[in-house]
Symmetry: C2
Subunit: 200 residues, 2 copies
Amino acid sequence: MRRAPPVSLLGYALLGLIHGKPSCGYDLRKIFAETAMGNYSSSPGAIYPALERLQSQSLIRGAVEDSAGLRRRRIYRITTKGAARLREWLERPIEKNDVMRGGQELMLRFAFIGDILGPGAAIAFLRQFRALLGAYTSELDTYLRQQAERMPLSGRLALESGIRSYRSLYDWTQYAIRTYIKFENKLRPRPARSAEGGPV
Amino acid sequence: MRRAPPVSLLGYALLGLIHGKPSCGYDLRKIFAETAMGNYSSSPGAIYPALERLQSQSLIRGAVEDSAGLRRRRIYRITTKGAARLREWLERPIEKNDVMRGGQELMLRFAFIGDILGPGAAIAFLRQFRALLGAYTSELDTYLRQQAERMPLSGRLALESGIRSYRSLYDWTQYAIRTYIKFENKLRPRPARSAEGGPV
DNA sequence: TCCACCATGTAACTGGTTACATGATTAC
DNA sequence: GTAATCATGTAACCAGTTACATGGTGGA
């Protein structure tokens, strides 16, 4: 049995959105074009082939439905296989590489994790993320301290901007963990321990 | 006269590095692999074709030189045309789009601007960058305030992380401007005005 | 009638990915 | 002699870009 062909980031974004709500290509394009998910391409030349690829892997299934006016809209729904694949992606342990690439993919995963896997998983994800961010920023710090004198001013500043942005991401994870714990406690106010794993 | 074919981001990174110091493909790969410029691909399948493209546009010129041992190293040097092209890229006014894409390209430009165009240009660039960051963050803030209640918690947090990272970039521009002005004053301590354009 | 928008596609191109391939030089 | 590393490439593949093409629908 050969390995399933990989799903691109855009593919996962589509998969996640369709998981949340069956949609046609146009709906999805609008989401990318009009909401804060604008970093993903909304061009038809990206979306439609991506949808077809997902369908050819049986991760989604599309059918023309004649609801809402009589325009032909091909509505895609996620399949069991697609949901499993999405879940597998969401549950993947975070790697240093993911963090180094600026955390784009991680943020996409996070945005889906809360809704699909629940607050507990979101909190666990954030803790993992925070740990890796801490390690990576101190690594960059060390590098900066060692190299600073050998670097041109602009290069040094550019590097510092990177460090700062990782640090701000770290702070965000703290904030997000707190927010999620509050949210979870509001849902079921009884239990004393807020979530699995040590203190915040 | 038809428009010159575009240069990719990797292309500009190579152009800038070669401008700083004539290098062979291997040198450049090492830079991407070992320094903080690691976000650019160091794979030969990216570098060598990119170098060839730059050469085919006469932006760089490579020749095998038998210095330092007798290995065949094809050393690339920037041409007048290449330097002009690089300059044109560095001097391009910043657009909102550049900021929205996360500022990757802008940071690359900044890293070269200081060395190639001098501190004055670097400061002007940072001021422009700061202005756009300010506008964009407040735009995102407005969007967040309007949409927050309609968004799932994880989506909202993801958006907030974006806002935070733009804000931290804004803070960084402040810091970088101050640092550059100090640096400039150290170079020529006489003049009272630190750089063209209003107050810091 | 005509415009704006809904809705789906396709074709050519391009730059990067992974993986493979080759050979020279140096250090042990 | 042989392993590591210097050094340059190439080929297959793939996802995304830009641009073009088509036609239905609803409202002015």
